[in-house]
Point group: C2
Amino acid sequence: MNNKSNKVNAAVIIIGNEILSGRTKEINLGCISVWLNRLGVKVEESRIILDIENEIVNCVNELRKKFNYIFTTGGIGPTHDDITAKSVAKAFNLKYEFHKEAFAILEKYYKPGEFNESRQKMAKMPSNARLIINPSSGAPGFIVENVFCLPGIPSILQSMLGNLKNEILGGKPLISKTINLRTVESEIAVPLKVIQEKNDKVEIGSYPFIQAGKVGVAIVLRSEDESKISICNEQVLELITSKKIQIINKG
Amino acid sequence: MNNKSNKVNAAVIIIGNEILSGRTKEINLGCISVWLNRLGVKVEESRIILDIENEIVNCVNELRKKFNYIFTTGGIGPTHDDITAKSVAKAFNLKYEFHKEAFAILEKYYKPGEFNESRQKMAKMPSNARLIINPSSGAPGFIVENVFCLPGIPSILQSMLGNLKNEILGGKPLISKTINLRTVESEIAVPLKVIQEKNDKVEIGSYPFIQAGKVGVAIVLRSEDESKISICNEQVLELITSKKIQIINKG
């Protein structure tokens, strides 16, 4: 791990042709990000890649050195296109073999006679992987060093995050404050830039939106330091007042 | 470009802290993928990155050599956090300057006196960029070599894709066939693997789903060759019949 400051970061690797083809909508990234954010970990990159062993190996090996935590989603099921466990084993130069505990969990989960060859495949993992317990559907995820491998089905993934809290050593959680305005970005861009320059410990985001046919802009302030957000927020409110802009809501 | 075969590929770079933080749901990738697929271009990677100049420069420079087409989304608006155009100019070692045609379009689009400094910023681009006309909201996107820069707001992005068709030299479109089954993956994983091995020109995907509390599996066959899909499809149907699995629907 390369945690050089008290900032803790993560990357999410989404594995699956079905996301890249547009067939399946990706919703796991946002879920993992929000959950990690509460633990003081900021997701700083995400990659969506094909179910190809080399792609997975290279991506895992590049990112695990760059970020404190890596989360992968998808590819840990029983079919031929589920190659995440095998690929992660290869990335770490570990054996890909039956994990005794995972095997026992799955054997117990299925009725006698139902624990067939393809289900057994879900117990094959990089050697000495630590398990991520799956309260929804039996098949566990796993951890190798700083790489956390989760399934692709959102409801199952979400049910597994709860068991992971103690595995994450986070930094200070990021606090955010949002002000939704009835304006357009170009009305506020110049003074907002000045405010950003004066508040270098606060990240100011400006996000235009169209809602029920009306345009608006969400101003989002993010920082680890609540007092710095307050100071920045005052300056944004002054700008809004001076420009006579309507506030839709704040949060 | 490294188009070594008749396969044409693309990567999508999604630029924006708001996606990585989980604040905003990403829906542009699927839209671009489906659109490109019809033109015979396969999206093979996507990266979601922060609004940081170096990140954008490195990502664009790495991927533009690896893929035939690069699409970026986000960061071409008027505010301080919109740095895509400047970063792409840097990636290509081009000047970042006013684009005459874009300036004229925007000047005409706004009422007299409304074309202020921050709106003018949207006319700054890498020198000699080619414009992508924006029928929704004036501000154009742009093209530098094989890199296509689009906005982040989905409705605007979608309205701009229509003007791009002639810019893309695609290969054979991928054809896909889906069969939704009332089964679980582990029931079919072993024979499906055998079918995959016999049909190396067809990509067989197996995607479990949960719908209205019931589990199912979508089998998706993809290939450039319709006859190869037909042959593979017959084998999948045989498997389904032999296992007495219910077909929910086909498409």
